[in-house]
Symmetry: C2
Amino acid sequence: MVTTLKNSGDQAEFPTRTEGPFFEEEKEGYKGYVEWEKYPEKKKLGAEVLSRYKFPGPPEFQLEPLPKTNPVLEGVRWKQYHYAMGGTLKDIPDISWKYVQKEKSEDMIHVLQFPYNGEPPRRRLVETEITPNKDHFVRNHGGVPEIDEDSFELELDGLVNKPMTIKMSDLKNEKIFPRQSTTVTIQCSGTRRIEQIDMYPGDGDELINAPWGEGAIGTARWTGVSLRSVIEHCGGLKTSDGTSEGDIHLEFYGADTYFKKGKVMNYVVSAPWRKVKYDEVLLAWEMNGEPLPRIHGFPLRTVVFGYIGARSCKWLYRIKAIKGPSQAPVQKKEYLYYNQQIGKQNVKYSNGFSIQDMPVSSAIMTPLDKEVVVHDGKITLTGWAYSGGGRWPERVEVSADGGSVWYEVPWQRLSKKYFFGWRVWSMEIPVEYEGWLEFCCRTWDNALNTQPTFVRSAWNWDLHVTSSCHRIKVYSVNRSRSETAERLQVIEQNGLSLFPLTQPLEMDLESDEHYDAEMEARGGRDPTE
Amino acid sequence: MVTTLKNSGDQAEFPTRTEGPFFEEEKEGYKGYVEWEKYPEKKKLGAEVLSRYKFPGPPEFQLEPLPKTNPVLEGVRWKQYHYAMGGTLKDIPDISWKYVQKEKSEDMIHVLQFPYNGEPPRRRLVETEITPNKDHFVRNHGGVPEIDEDSFELELDGLVNKPMTIKMSDLKNEKIFPRQSTTVTIQCSGTRRIEQIDMYPGDGDELINAPWGEGAIGTARWTGVSLRSVIEHCGGLKTSDGTSEGDIHLEFYGADTYFKKGKVMNYVVSAPWRKVKYDEVLLAWEMNGEPLPRIHGFPLRTVVFGYIGARSCKWLYRIKAIKGPSQAPVQKKEYLYYNQQIGKQNVKYSNGFSIQDMPVSSAIMTPLDKEVVVHDGKITLTGWAYSGGGRWPERVEVSADGGSVWYEVPWQRLSKKYFFGWRVWSMEIPVEYEGWLEFCCRTWDNALNTQPTFVRSAWNWDLHVTSSCHRIKVYSVNRSRSETAERLQVIEQNGLSLFPLTQPLEMDLESDEHYDAEMEARGGRDPTE
């Protein structure tokens, strides 16, 4: 008997289940953490419970306009998946939303309510080089577990010489582990996805393909220990079976529960040893000098420098050294980059390559797209610029003519260089033209890579990594032109407004006398012979 | 008294000088090596000798078509600089050309005779993943010194704890230094420069801005020792004065003599320790299992993985650990990347950023630009794809319509992946259209960087790093169209030819009977009412 569910994320509307199994927490002090990976039988039971329901499909948000609500999308199915599990997971959607309200700014754009995906308002994001914790974007794949730091233990196993568990107090003990603080930008591969959607829709699963704007990126100073030190503490990598260090990847297990095509699991991803050994993977418990917020992975998360955010696993409880990349679905079946001719008709996992290192990218954050700017011949643009993999933005350029001629943002107007951080920038550029203009920006990193020219250049089925030149439309009203200045004055004298641009001007555009004089001067509308 | 020189590279035409100084070799067994860097007084004397002449300027090869000769450019001034020095350098232009003839393929395209700059014919370069030594491009900045391996000593000094000199026999002694072999692509930042020149000329110095095609790139298996091991052998970096390891660069000294704006010097460049410490800088004496050819730096050179070729210093005789990048002119004043609005009117060294890591790039090597291809609906393309800095080409795409729709080159048609090597590729693509088509290719590396769309996107004053999508024009004659097949047959029956395309066809294009019938069927040329 399959129960068809209403399209409602309200727990009260979810049919009460009296029959087991109900999935309780794995450990005391770990509310909301169910261990799936160690218990294949439990995974089967989880899948069996899911199969008792017909869940509503994902909402259409590409062939139709996005809802004007905030949260934009609700995540009904994912709430229901959690309700269906019963036990410790059924309250997780509510608990998670509580942490959004407690830990994030009030005016966040809630792209998806559950699992929580949110970005800050455009204008504020680039006001500071370091993103305040409450404004840092969040892209969660599951609910927020509540883990007591005192109960917490990190497990290390797989291809290490001395598998062990380590308490938080030991991780924080500088006599055992040297502490590392690094300024790192984390970026979701969905950043700027809305540009791809607006042009050509793709895979419509709101969980992996939420309609992000330009704010799914943020920069913090992260503090913790280098995973390299922790592996050394475990006696180093185990290569006695002939496995080469170069083939080893570190698999990260998150305490959140993830769902994929009728299966249930923990959030599991990996990063290669060649990254870990250079101190580019941090186990972090501090974000900008404060304890990690719950919603950002308290008490411990990975921060994988220069990679896609998805590898920076939150609520980390286990690290397993394995041969090759993780075979878990998030690593193997998601965050793949397809070519332009791959879609629903032919897509396979092996056809995409795995998004790890992030490419060079940038965005104009002000003016906003479709803004009307009244100015005196100059307009100020602000934005961010970033490149992954240890490369840094060397040059940011902006154009007021759709990319024919570019201005370089003066170095004085770019924030400091970091190997793994973005740069925020601003520049006042001359704008003589009036009417709708296309402003765009692009960045060159130190490896001389720059952004492809058009959104179409980088369109892909899963709508990942919108790295093309960022383009916005701005309606330019240039008050330094005398006719425009006069018109603005007349509009004001008449108590009228230029705004909204699309509403008709309730006054005549010129007097009949003026029109007649003009026509006579121009020789009339028609030829005379 | 300044002597004005004729525009001739012939040594016999150079005025004989009876007055000193004459610059002899520094050491026995080092023909053609003058040490300048250790002797400021000698540098002054060298500059003084140069000031006695008025040398001809560089040839115009941008506002006028390139000469059809091979060598394309001669390098008259640079030959004369060497003649002027007298002593060991005056024979170097002749000796160097002798090594071109001995060590390189007969059909090389000699972009510049002296200092030798040459690339192999397009078609052959991508037939093998490893470039044969005789086909590997050469971009020399000076003449070829003849150094005896037995006399050779490598000097190490600057910020190392134990400065020393090391004989080649010790460098090759595996009991002292572990040997390293790595497949590495070296690319000149001038590769594909001709595309920038064709569109908009830039700085016209043929020495730094030679008119390269797509062949200034090659791949070899290099063998030698990691510079890291050598530095460790010298007791490691000296940081006792408070210099941080992260600030240290390794300066490489080449035995060739270089000239710049009236000054004379050795070829000196640098790479940062952060690159050296990861075993990404090799001191190499073997190229594809053979001793280094003289023209490629015998007996010892650096190979800096993933960087611009200019850092892979040939005829290496000294390495100095210094704070910050080298202040020598090649590092500080050349290989800079400017923005589109910088040129002769405003260019300064500090306005450009230093080209180190190379970006993602690729090229179509066959068909050739402007080739007429007669086919049956499918055309095979071949080419190369590369990305620097340890990133590898993940995807190569080709387009037959100027880049509107792209085909992915199947993975089976790409050569093996290397962290520091290119991939050669081939693909047969459907081509239905006839007439002039624009074929293009682009590559995505594992960091999801791809090439900018147009040459204009990356134009810069020094014409470096033409990394935009490579575009060629191909005239398509599709024999699978019946009218075309018939026409080709008639041409053949008439003993005529489609080639050259631009020569008129000496036969009537249709019979008068056929024309009349066709016109009647179409209702005539003009409307009837």
